[in-house]
Symmetry: D2
């Protein structure tokens, strides 16, 4: 059923399969009068591009975005913005042997169970490639949130067992725009070593991305189901690789006392931020802090046990062009998803503020 749209007022619909003709997004509900260009979107796409970082798949996609509607003489018109990205470098022949085999850790089995059939080429709709459309839409969302000065920064917090120290305060756009989107250069080197080891073993790695939102005004988020943290959790968990989402102190709250997890207020603002910028589902004006757990890429060359579509036992070694870790490529996707949720809630709040 229809589940490819996100948002209430600022609405993003994505479409497309990895090896179909194209992928894309329709952004409906963008206010008129915002500056937008294909170049701005292209810059964002290039950040998540294969090959844009070491250890990424060598698949070379031009990933050229085309804005087909909703733009007139350089600014948005208020009508739907349609974004198109052609699939140019899709070599489906490499997937022919996967037509009747379910790859462990992938959606092959579940798509087959759900639909009774599936486009096996490159993961079809479940491919990470779909996230390019999210990044493109996120650029438009960022134009909306920029109006009130919101900035979203995502960076690599852990990869392959290397965790970096708590350093939210010092992370900046500049400090994270380096190897593996990791602001800790020394840790990034060790992460890179782990990636290389895993590649040689035919294996893959998981990690953690932390997302920070700065400049978000207090008052965004809706009781009771459309809470800001609920919508952020949904948006981030909708990224195929994500298996956990936490806000502020996150799972650590389980072992805390109220006197520790409550953030005292002073005339100058909150004195701590265990809440991660959200109280009762509504932003409190502090930095929003979110972490997501990313599972290892399921496509590995190590031999795995599986079954075919007839239920027969078989083994599988996945070749082809695959990343060793979704990090760093997932980092811009996380930023995009958070931007989309914030843009929606910003406009929703405008609707009822008298």
């Amino acid at each position: 059923m229809s589940g490819n749209t996100l948002g209430t007022v600022f609405r993003v619909t994505t479409w497309g399969e990895s090896h179909g003709g194209a992928i894309g997004a329709v952004v409906d509900g963008c206010p008129p009068g915002l500056p937008l260009s294909e170049e701005t979107i292209q810059t964002a796409l290039d950040r998540r591009k294969p090959g844009g970082q070491p250890f990424a798949t060598p698949r070379q996609e031009a990933d050229r975005v085309e804005i087909l509607s909703g733009l007139f003489e350089g600014t948005t018109t208020g009508t739907p913005i349609s974004l198109l990205i052609r699939n140019r470098d899709a070599d489906s022949s490499a997937y022919e042997n996967l037509r009747n085999v379910f790859r462990p850790g992938h959606g092959d089995y579940t798509y087959f169970k759900k639909y009774g059939r599936r486009d096996h080429r490159g993961g079809g709709r479940a491919s990470g490639r779909e996230t390019a459309a999210r990044v493109a839409a996120g650029v438009i969302a960022a134009q909306v949130t920029a109006i009130v000065g919101i900035e979203v920064l995502a960076y690599t917090k852990a990869l392959g067992g290397v965790h970096i120290a708590e350093n939210r305060g010092t992370v900046t756009r500049e400090s994270l725009e380096q190897t593996l989107f990791c602001p800790d250069k020394e840790a990034a080197l060790r992460m890179a070593e782990r990636l290389e080891e895993a590649r040689q073993q035919g294996d893959s790695l998981g990690g953690i991305v932390e997302i920070l939102v700065r400049g978000c005004p207090a008052g965004l988020g809706e009781p009771v189901f459309d809470k800001m943290d609920a919508d952020l959790a949904r948006a981030l968990m909708s990224i195929g690789t994500v298996k956990g989402v936490e806000i502020g102190s996150g799972f650590a709250v389980a072992d805390m006392k109220g006197s520790e997890s409550n953030d005292p207020l002073s005339p100058d603002g909150f004195l701590s931020n265990s809440a991660g910028g959200i109280l009762a589902g509504i932003t409190n004006g502090e930095e929003i802090v979110i972490r997501v757990a990313c599972k290892p890429i399921p496509s590995i060359s190590r031999t795995q046990q599986t079954v075919d579509a007839e239920g027969n036992s078989t083994t599988l070694s996945i070749g082809g062009r695959h990343d060793v870790c979704v990090i760093p490529r997932i980092v811009p996707v996380c930023e995009a998803m958070v931007q989309i949720v914030l843009a929606d809630h910003l406009l929703r709040q405008k609707a009822v503020k008298l």
Copy 2:
């Protein structure tokens, strides 16, 4: 703005403030012909009732539910089911001193920032009391999911620093229906000790709830934004106390390799369940495993630093009737939220299955 409705086909809208006239829910989209009675709902409400467990608030609410519509001669009609629970034991005078002061860890400050005003009595809309309406609606959802044999079990996995061992396989409805909804009796005793300690200190505690779904057919969940795990994360994170949600191996995937996190398939099914029953956002027929982190109750009698509505510094010691921990009362709420999401996705899948 309107954010009080959950679901696409099976839709739950809740309403009501802690100290208003009543709270309630409207359940729209329930199939006709299902058995339903006030008694069935009442039994579920009694599980989360104050005083239904030790260490809970002594506030005695009858919490009598009334079914006002959608029911005819003992079965559902297919039209909206309206549920009403009167607020009978609401003593608002105890909250008068909170009219102009923001309680740390509560939504007082953010509601004020969002709406410019707030119902300060008992937490208003942000009160945990709202979750009674969710539990009531969850009973109706459970009637829907029971059609295909789905069972949802939630239990206490950690409380006040006491974590119980991995024991999914052995948890049953019977084993968890005891002190603190904890299937490990020895651990439950220690948890109870921690609760008593915290109460004496005027403090509160956090914990972890694990939710298991058994008997769920493969194929539920929608690409790409309405993934099953995304919708579960949103629904659970919309409970005020929850600061983190994870599926299957959850945050542990960050340190795993693909060869570890991939679940091999055999002719007899999956050989492990790191995925927690969901692959690419769609159920795979295995047990669904979810954990949520619950923050300590923010209302504590220990003196806290805060500000009043004019921004002046002040201190606060919260008296009144408050739980020490949202566990165990939150446990039935977690079950309800998962049931609601499953019912919705079950009906959504029916819509497109030819």
Copy 3:
């Protein structure tokens, strides 16, 4: 399936059957800070009350509305407003003979076909009584639209073959608040005669209601599916009795030329209003003009041919308490539906207006 909610930002959900425990509505998305009281809503309910006008059913319902949530110290809080109206005077025994017979012109047959079962008492969910909840919700919508000075006036344009002359310009709230909500006193007398004749014949009558919206700013309505006229048509056609909706010149445009139907613009505004205040789905600042066709009440005492639930031929003469015409009681319902649509679009426009 769930189809009992109207609106995107300002959302109204109604529930309840004619002879169940109660009927009601939940209004979600109402801005905070608006004045509201049960008395205001009661006044509106009394306008559509049985017996509030001659020729109406003598069924005496107190129809007392209770506001259960979303209101604090006399103004709205921004959270859902729950409205409850008990069914006090419901005598279901009179309907016992209809349990297995389908009344011509009613939803009996279609509800049975849709749900496989139905609440036969008083029309169940399909009863005109459901519209009381709409009127109550419409009062809240009117509080929203009043902010920008919108006024909605509905009146009787035709009844039982008596049509009144074009007189939009002179209709005022005062002129229509009289017999049959008809601003033409002489016509109202003739309409009353027709009603009496029909009553004596055991028959019923149809009519036309015209709705005028004054003070609506230009710019409300969304391309392309959520056009203002599309949403108005849907909202009005959702009233059970309505079989046609037209805007401005309506069906007369079929025989017009472009040079006649185009409204010329001058520096002082439009020089005519064939468009009825809406161009390309967006309000143009002129008076919005809508007409709806209301079918005769299907419950008549004249003997009718029908079938029972087993498909056997039978005849039926419907006794009990029934109006002869939905007019005048439907007139306040039409006002309410238009107010609800306008409130929603007003808030939607606020969301994106930078």
Copy 4:
């Protein structure tokens, strides 16, 4: 705000401006396993193509549709279907003189008021060209409704003052696939004469389209706001040209008695069809009958009085390539909108039917 999506389970989003890069649609929620091809859609597009009928604009658009996703080896996959139609023959220079002038009867003025800016070229988003995307999406909807044997036929009922006699019973797909989609050949000749007269006068004409739905099962449509007739009215009124919608007897019910408008039931079905196939918002298994009033094309070469963006009085004579009447080109659009609504309701009903 976002208003470019129609449907709940079967969802259609259209995008694109008349003179932008392209127009298109995303269809989400289509069941998997349905046959689909670009050729099938192309055939439907050719029916509404400029030049496909006499008296249409000579603008020659290839209007080649491309299916970019959701299709695999000739059948639908269950994922979103993205449809793309490039704008190849768009000559914007002819519109340069309209940049600052509001055309009477068009959305120029209202778009300007709504958005503060507009794409003046060819009507932008308000152009009739947008309906090509609807027709394309309607083909997919028709694949869904064909599963249960639904057929939708629209034809010209009136044009330029020429009305054809009641002849529902005899209309067939073959009888209407001729000049002006009018099954009455003699009337079609007179309509053609009126069109030629109007063209010579530099004027335009209106008309009425009647849509028939055959083979629709009883039970589709949802109480109370998402009634079948309400959703049909909205979908059809969302076509820019439509100023009125009526079902069954429509506005004629105003002058009928209950004994006339009630359709008696017999063991063999309903004995008449004043209801037009819908009772209480739910289909009753009879033929669904809908009529829509289409206003004359607002673009006429006769001189009209208007104002420019600065509010100064001016006159306007619109040259360029314009139809004299939206009929016959609107006829396939009406079919498409009805198919989309029916497909959505068919799937919605499947969701809750146990």
